[in-house]
Symmetry: C2
Subunit: 383 residues, 2 copies
């Protein structure tokens, strides 16, 4: 399913030899039309990888006919040579597929600061193009994995139209505007501005609200491509909701497979004065290493929640804060509340509710715990 669930798309995933392991490392997604409208959101990191700089320009044109994605190297912090490599990648795909290079988006993921092996990548594009199939979505999703343990796909069936997508992401997972590599496709008959509106609205409350490890990538890219092959023009609200559901599903899968994590933490900030306040508080909890350790240890240590809230600029009165962990209100009015022994944190999912008692706005941020496995996985040489 994945990116080929919607009509009008073909895909392939192959091993080009970019990864030393020999695992699949190159994916190709092609929009067979009749439309080729597209939208994208990219990392807010000011240090952007070459493929991000390239694809931002491609998407500005409103049309994308193909996406080349590679794992095994991020092509970030690689200077002019890195940008030339991305350009050559798009040119090669354009040549093989008979499209314009200006409509070929490129996305890369892997280690920062190493050049891509172009002598393997370019022949890989020919091999992938030869294997393009309307059933290739799963293979493509597999080929973009790095430290992901599973590939991530999602599909939403509308009234005569479909939205499908694939995602990868396991570390450096704290998107500022988008996350990691995500390609969404639809056969709905929509133009680029419609896609852009739906994608930005969806990313804002899905990918933008997961924060696994506080580290924003140089390569985050989310693309939404429309083929129009269904011939159906969905209503704007219904389509936007479909995109949101697929983004939310993929975002949740990213958190569920984050490097070394043993818990998925749902942080609900409620009764905030503004949505921005709720997001700021949620992110401060998501990034608090002591709280992440406590949740790993199944310790309902609400003092660490309050000390994190106290570092924000949100509107609140310290003496009115309430905190629940898995629905037990362990902190009431900024002080000791219900018996912490009542909290059962044995499940994979833990819910932390922070009640700011300052208004009526709310937000949910998804995060992970901090584990020895995370340290191990990320302290190995250039993982």
């Amino acid at each position: 399913m994945s990116v080929t669930a919607a009509k009008g798309f073909t895909a392939a995933g192959i091993a080009a030899g970019i990864k030393e392991s020999g695992n699949p490392d190159l994916a190709l997604v092609v929009n067979e039309g009749p439309r080729r409208s597209a939208a994208g959101v990219f990392t807010a990191n000011r240090v952007k990888a070459a493929p991000v700089l390239w694809s931002e320009q491609v998407v500005k044109g409103g049309a994308v006919s193909a996406v080349v994605l590679n794992s095994g190297g991020a092509n970030a912090c690689t200077g002019p040579r890195g940008f030339q490599d991305t350009h050559a990648t798009a040119e090669k795909a354009a040549e093989v597929l008979g499209h314009s290079a200006g409509e070929v988006a490129v996305a890369s993921t892997g280690l920062i600061g190493v050049y891509l092996p172009m002598d393997r990548l370019l022949p890989g594009i020919e091999k992938a193009a030869a294997g393009l199939s309307p059933h290739g979505g799963e293979e493509a999703a597999v080929a973009i994995k790095t430290t992901d343990t599973v590939h991530k796909t999602a599909v939403y069936e509308g009234e005569g139209w479909t939205v499908g997508g694939m995602a990868k992401g396991a570390g450096m997972l704290a998107p500022g505007l988008a996350t990691m590599l995500v390609v969404l496709t639809t056969d709905a008959d929509l133009d680029a501005p419609d896609l852009d509106a739906a994608l930005r609205a969806s990313a804002r409350t899905t990918f933008d609200r997961i924060d696994s490890d506080g580290c924003m990538s140089t390569n985050d890219t989310v693309l939404l491509l429309a083929s129009g092959a269904s011939g159906v023009v969905p209503d704007g609200g219904g389509f936007a909701e479909a995109v949101r559901v697929v983004c939310d599903d993929l975002a949740r899968q990213l958190i569920g497979d984050a490097e070394g994590a043993s818990k998925d933490i749902r942080i609900e900030v409620v009764n905030a004065a503004t949505e921005d306040d709720a997001v700021e508080v949620g992110r401060s909890l998501a990034r608090n290493n002591l709280l992440k350790c406590a949740i790993h240890g199944e310790d309902p240590n609400w003092g660490r929640v309050l000390s994190a809230i106290g570092t924000t600029s949100a509107v609140f009165d310290p003496d009115r804060l309430n905190v629940a962990i898995n629905d037990v209100w362990v902190c009431r009015d900024g002080s000791i509340g219900d018996d912490r022994e009542l909290v059962d944190m044995r499940g994979r999912e833990v819910c932390v509710t922070a009640d700011l008692a300052a208004g009526q706005e709310a937000a949910v941020i998804w995060a992970n715990d901090l584990t020895a496995e995370y340290v191990h996985e990320n302290s190995a040489y250039s993982s």
Copy 2:
């Protein structure tokens, strides 16, 4: 030595039974005069412990005759009862010492969200007062330890006057204005405004620039007390420098004993447009879990340095950034620089230099690596 290195001070450290382990947990520092001028800086956390709220008011009066410090409980997030407990602590010390409670500062450290055992703490004050000695500084430094593995003291000898101090701190170590519990004493003949100026200037570039784990405490307190017992009025610049040296020494000791750390990381940000830019970039590196893991693994992963710089608002051009790790320039002009194999990271101290190529300002932030031991220590039940 410690807080009794300067003339005019007595101190004691005893086991009052606040800690279940029976280890020392109550310290008393008394200014015997003739002066009792004082200054203090406190946590910028908006959730402040009861003793911080109390001591802020005491210090505003410009005079402190005694400080009661306890480990074994932070008395934070304990509501009106917690504040009454702090008040009762000051009243008890005032009664025993024959001073005004309004000149008794209180500092607490330990678990957030539990009440102090006042039935043990108040008798402990009587016991400590009975043991006051001009040689009691070391015992006092020992009694304020929590997860600290060693007690921390520092002394600076001026021309006829002395500055001494003690500190504790091992986790939740990212001060916003000050750090953990620190008491500095001097026998210099100075009034409160002079002390305040010297202390604020020193804290800004010492305690404010260590960031072990990104987590700001509710209890951070730094006090500077002057007895005037030397009869010497030092020149302002010389005294400020003495305070800075002592603060820097203690701050460095805090980083060297941070929970679970295996590396002390000196982050030098150079050629920044402003000092604020340098500090913002330094702190973003100090708090980047992936970089902290890489340094733990002795991996000169400069890509993680650039991705962290990219999240800041500092002035820089991504194509002009340079990064050195232990003096090897592994990143030049935002791209691949000298051979990373040349970097030797085996020592306890690792230096990361980030050259923003945007101006002439600089700052140094001290941080720690992220280790499985940190996770272990902080995921144990309510450590």
